[in-house]
Amino acid sequence: MNPHDSVNKAADDAALGRLLKQWEVPKAPPPGFSREVWRRIDRATRPQPLPGPRYWARFLNILSHPRVAVGGLALIVLVGTGAGVLKGQARAEQLTDALQGRYVQSIDPFSHRVR
């Protein structure tokens, strides 16, 4: 063993001793600390409840603002009308194809068989 190592070890021990003398035990945790911890753990592990009447009340409260209400209604009408236009266009194309098919059938005796 190197003689320098034993000198260093003794110095470290002295420093550690000084540090341990300075160490103080912290004050006790605030009252109800343990209960609060368990309450949080319990809340985190419990399944989330479905939106209840409180959420509905908050939602309806938001709706009660005239600007929000008018905006929401306008949005619903716009979405409904847009969907109607898209669906209608698809149906109109189908009907136009059916009409074209009827014309072709009226002049082509093979159209109903081969095509």
Binding site: G84, R91, T96, S111
Partner: protein, 167 residues
């Protein structure tokens, strides 16, 4: 707002009404054309933007062509029936069968010629752009030109790829 919950059914109701109204407006024209007594001609008029005078001439041509088409239809049907009967009576191609095949083909060709004449006659009553579009559409939709899907395609390697005859 005193009753905010009322907004939900009212909003949904308005959305449904908007949907129905838009759907009705967009499909109104083709639906009414489909219900008209001559739906196919109503389609022709709308699709090719025919004036009343052009539509009248096209209608006259259509009406004149219908009996001829019906007669050709009847002949083809009769010819097919005879060919089928003859084909089922034998297990080898007879002279009668060969002649019936040729006759069936002739009836079909006659029908195609008549149809082509009709298509040209109708297209002559249309403005040039509409006439060209009409001919392109009809030649690809009718049996005047054999559909590529209905014929065997001979590949360079000598194999045959049969297209579907019936869809």
């Amino acid at each position: 707002m005193r009753r905010p919950w009322m907004l939900l059914p009212v909003g949904l109701g308005l959305g449904v009404v908007g949907f129905a109204l838009a759907y009705w407006l967009v499909t109104h024209e083709p639906r009414s054309r489909l219900r008209s007594p001559q739906a196919e001609l109503a389609w022709l008029q709308h699709e090719f933007q025919l004036t009343p005078a052009q539509f009248e001439k096209v209608t006259a041509l259509h009406e004149a062509y219908r009996p001829r088409c019906a007669e050709l239809c009847r002949r083809i049907h009769e010819q097919n029936r005879r060919l089928e009967e003859a084909a089922l009576r034998t297990n080898a191609p007879t002279t009668e069968l060969r002649s019936l095949v040729l006759e069936t083909g002739r009836a079909r060709d006659e029908c195609r010629q008549a149809m082509l004449e009709h298509l040209y006659a109708v297209s002559r009553e249309m403005p040039p752009e509409a006439a060209s579009r009409y001919l392109r559409l009809m030649l690809s939709s009718t049996c005047v030109i054999e559909d590529a899907r209905n014929v065997h395609q001979i590949h360079t390697d000598g194999t045959h790829a049969a297209g579907s005859y019936h869809e």
